[in-house]
Amino acid sequence: MQSALDQQQPMLPLHPNVRWVWMFSSLISTFIFGGIIATAEILLSKNIPEWQIPMLLITAVYVMIFFPLAFVMPRLQFERWRYAIRPQDVLIEYGVIWRNRRCIPRLRIQHVDINSGPIDRMLGLVHMNVYTAGSMGPVVSIPGMTPEKAESIREELIGTKASNG
């Protein structure tokens, strides 16, 4: 099996600020879910006082696991995340425990959208979603990009398609 591409294409990292995006969003979800669990426990254990302490332990354990993860994971994720806009396709590599390497040939790109959530906006970042025909959601989603960079990549990807098609 011959690989038909030139291996020189560099894999690019994400913008470092994306670590903060990931950290904030996992902290927020940790606190929201922790809050929901705690509330449910308080409501449930109201009538049975003996249950109060063991049930609150569940919340404590949950927070103790996910709180540190919110600080550790973004760093590991950032180290693993790489993308490349190659001559023939868009390639991404990511994943700490489950590793993924995904590519979309340029001709198959149906549309590209750029969007940013509230946390993204706070840090001046966007993420870029790339879709193919028949896909229910984005096939490739690259987070942590500056708006200018994303814009120029989108221009390049969509432009290529128009000239070839």
Binding site: Q2, D89, G95, P105, L107, T132, G134, S135, V139
Partner: protein, 500 residues
């Protein structure tokens, strides 16, 4: 620009739509009936029923009044919606398949339901729920011809023969074998058993009336209870099996696949008849499905992955089947009808990594072993550990069988993958139809540097058939194949030859 004639759909649509509405609220009616018979003291039953009837007829009438379609040389335009008006323009060149479906009610009223699918979303893009049979046929022909006229036929397609030829027709024996080897028996059992679980919850009264009798009779059996339970299970299994055969026969009754001028035509169904047209270039992939029993009898089923037929549930099978039951040795011949350049008899399967054996065995043995160890610790009976021997033997056998079932090959224009011991699937995807490629590794795979390669096409077949994937291949090989195919896709041009 909008000078085309706007057609209404058939007025009897109102009846069909109203029936659909009432069908949707059937559970309300059932609940009301049950609570009434249980003496729930709900007096307004008739009132609710009447309100529902009036409401559904009114809604159906409004819907009918606000639905229209028109057709010009470029587009089909469908207007729908009472509150939120919608005008949907479907470019004729983008139409993937056209399907005519006739339910029992449709047949009684002499109507047809015309569904138009494009490569896009999750449902039929255009759904004209009731047209006269003649009008539906006329539209179908018109749409397919319009699509055909300005579109160059794909280079993959054979020269169009002048006449319609029959490719495959189901005989009674075929349907019997198909139903008997379907993996559907357990679903049927579930359907039969579910009411037994849920019925008591609908009304306490029912439990008192039937429940006590049931419990009494079970208690009366005493020691034979186990035996009865086994017989009952066996009975349910046989019943489920027979039901599966009947369901398959009813669903696919008279299945016929014909070929004419670069497109397949399918027609099937006893109560609900379906007639659909599949243009050859729109076939994204093929899947050769062979459940164990069917394989042992020497048969397989050929499915086609079509763009724009993302339907979930039971319907899925219906939309994808191309040849229901084909002798294993004839597969190559049928595959050639879709992909003329592929000879399935010539392909050489490449093996995946031998680590797959270890991984399969490990995965098979993990939970039984943990459960056994737990049991030993709990009961303190060390003799139970002897059970580990058969578990491990089975696990090793499973690992080997799984490894042997896995395989892939890359020919000039196709990626072909094979997997599954009990439920074997062979996927065939032309390079030109691949949309994306993904290599993924779980923790165990990382340890041994192996990976899965999954590819996506525009066709979305059901979860049961899945999509082409090479499982447990060496990581560097997987990445090479990925890059190779990605470059091949680029070389083979646009995925829809009809110039979308």
């Amino acid at each position: 620009m909008d000078n085309a004639v706007h057609h209404r759909i058939h007025p009897l649509t109102i009846v069909i739509e109203a029936a659909r509405f009432i069908g949707r609220f059937a559970f309300v009616i059932v609940i009301l009936l049950v609570s009434r018979s249980a003496g729930g003291g709900f007096d307004a039953f008739e009132l609710v029923l009447a309100a529902l009837g009036v409401f559904s007829i009114a809604a159906a009438t409004l819907r009918y009044m606000f639905t229209s379609y028109s057709l010009d040389s470029q587009n089909m335009i469908i207007r729908t919606g009472v509150v939120f008006r919608q005008k949907r323009t479907i470019p004729l060149a983008r139409i993937q398949n056209v399907e005519i479906k006739r339910g029992v009610l449709h047949q009684m009223l002499g109507l047809s339901d015309l569904k138009i699918e494009t490569a896009g979303g999750a449902e039929a893009e255009g759904d004209l729920s009731a047209l006269t049979v003649a009008e539906a046929e006329r539209l179908k022909d018109l749409l397919m011809r319009a699509r055909h006229a300005d579109a160059p036929v794909s280079s993959e397609a054979p020269p169009p023969p002048p006449q319609r030829q029959t490719v495959w027709i189901a005989t009674a024996k075929d349907l019997l074998i198909l139903g008997a080897t379907e993996n559907r028996a357990f679903v049927v059992i579930g359907i039969i058993l579910a009411p037994l679980f849920f019925a008591p919850r609908i009304s306490d009264d029912l439990v008192e009336r039937f429940g006590s009798q049931m419990f009494q009779s079970v208690r009366g059996i005493g020691d034979d209870a186990w035996l009865i339970a086994i017989w009952a299970t066996a009975g349910l299994l046989v019943f489920g099996w027979i039901a599966s055969i009947v369901m398959t026969a009813v669903h696919y009754y008279g299945f016929a696949l014909r070929y004419q001028e670069g497109q397949f035509q399918r027609r099937y169904g006893l109560f609900t008849t379906v007639e659909s047209i599949v243009p050859l270039p729109r076939i994204q992939s093929l899947c050769i499905e062979a459940p164990l029993l069917r394989r042992l009898l020497g048969y397989v089923t050929i499915h086609a992955g079509l763009a724009g037929s993302i339907k979930l549930g039971e319907q899925q099978q219906a939309t994808s089947a191309l040849c229901l039951l084909v002798k294993s040795k004839d597969v190559a011949e049928y595959v050639r009808r879709v992909f003329p350049h592929l000879n399935m008899n010539d392909i050489e399967w490449l093996p995946v990594s031998r680590i797959a054996i270890r991984k399969g065995a490990f995965r098979f043995a993990l939970f039984p072993t943990l459960a056994l160890v737990g049991w030993v610790v709990y009961s303190g009976n060390n003799l139970l550990l002897l059970a580990l021997i058969p578990i491990l033997a089975l696990a090793i056998w499973y690992g080997y069988a799984r490894y042997r079932a896995l395989g892939y090959t890359i020919t000039d224009g196709f990626l072909i993958t094979r997997e599954g011991i009990l439920y074997r699937k062979i996927h065939i995807a032309p390079h030109g139809k691949l949309q994306w490629l993904a290599v993924s590794q779980g923790p165990i795979q990382r340890r041994y540097r192996i990976a899965d390669l999954d590819v996506g096409t525009a066709a979305v077949v059901g979860a049961q058939l899945g999509s082409p994937s090479i499982v447990d291949l060496e990581l560097d090989k997987a990445e090479n194949v990925q890059d190779f195919l990605s470059a091949r896709v680029e070389a083979s041009g646009l995925w829809m030859p009809d110039g979308v």
